[in-house]
Symmetry: C2
Subunit: 178 residues, 2 copies
DNA sequence: GTTTGCGTTCGAGCGCGCTCAAAGCCATAG
DNA sequence: CTATGGCTTTGAGCGCGCTCGAACGCAAAC
């Protein structure tokens, strides 16, 4: 049931741009049907990052990757799952050093789970803050876009009333020539 | 009426952390009661950035600032308003070069407003995309946090049902040791 | 009259996260 | 047989957005 809620929320959030959202939800939930092993190119493709970046992550100590007979990287399912997680976290803005810290905890063993949880919670809060910031910025930009129409065209009538709702505002100087 | 809606949305979004949101809404709307002129320290304080950064923006051509008898910067109301706008855009992730482009349009005169509008709309869409991304990441992190409780303590019972909802998942390998 | 503090300019430096160049190995295709 | 393509390693380079250091100017405080 909670998974349905999860899906519902994700779907609600995405709304528009159909195909991309489907793929995103897949990535969100399909930790299960990960291939046995992958080449660097395949994984880079899956994660939508460059092979360069994958090697960089490995150098940074975020994951250990085995080699085949030719010295080529072979990403097993566990490595893939970890990298899915890592890229997801990167995408949400977690800095490299935090990921390094987190991974060091993972590698330190089961007893570090409380601390890992703390890190996740902290990051969750960071994401929430960022979303709030962005939502506020979005509102500001949308407002600006709306009022901008007034200076270029005649397609503003609902907003004249609004402007009077702002304190001390002379009609057209609210958003000056910028 | 639309302004009320604006406010409502902003307030809804913020919800928690009271004082910060109040200040934020102020910044969102209080373009009006900007001081006649400000020193660099005052403005830095207002914008919550460093004087260094203000000088940097000036060097980057984003704003021209007059000097007083001592060669000290004097930010007039227009400069302040522009910098409020600029920092807001920076905060929402608009890159410097886009701002430089935008400002160049502003300085080019009234006839560039359509193009400016395009930039704003593009940026609005970027913000929306980013919010969607972050919301998705947030969902993933929240999900992970919830399931994590299961591996450290006994406080997971609602989620066992969920796990079966994921395809092919052996009970505890959904989110392996990370 | 010197010290303190805030400002100035110019150029360099930095932290982050990649991104790439060079030189080389191996396998398959033509 | 050689050419092409994909991988390897190492170390360097880069784009971004600041951030800082150095050397100096001016003004009010002690």
């Amino acid at each position: 049931m909670a998974t349905d809620e999860l899906m519902t929320r994700a779907l609600e959030t995405l709304g528009d741009d159909g195909p991309l959202s489907v793929e995103a939800i897949h990535r969100l939930t399909d930790l299960a049907d990960v291939p046995e092993s992958m080449t660097i190119a395949e994984l880079a493709d899956l994660l939508d990052i460059s092979p360069h970046t994958l090697r960089y992550y490995e150098r940074a100590g975020l994951v250990e990757v085995a080699r085949d007979g030719n010295g080529h990287r072979v990403y097993d399912a566990q490595a893939v799952r970890r990298l899915v997680f890592l890229t997801r976290m990167r995408l949400s803005g977690m800095p490299m050093r935090d990921l390094q810290h987190y991974i060091s905890l993972v590698d330190a063993g089961q007893h570090t789970t409380p601390e890992r949880l703390d890190l996740l919670i902290e990051h969750r809060d960071t994401i929430r803050r960022r979303i709030r910031e962005l939502t506020l910025s979005l509102t500001a930009v949308e407002y600006k876009i709306t009022t901008y129409g007034g200076s270029t065209g005649p397609d503003v009538q609902t907003l004249d009333a609004d402007r009077t709702a702002l304190p001390y505002e002379p009609p057209r100087r609210t958003l000056p020539a910028d």
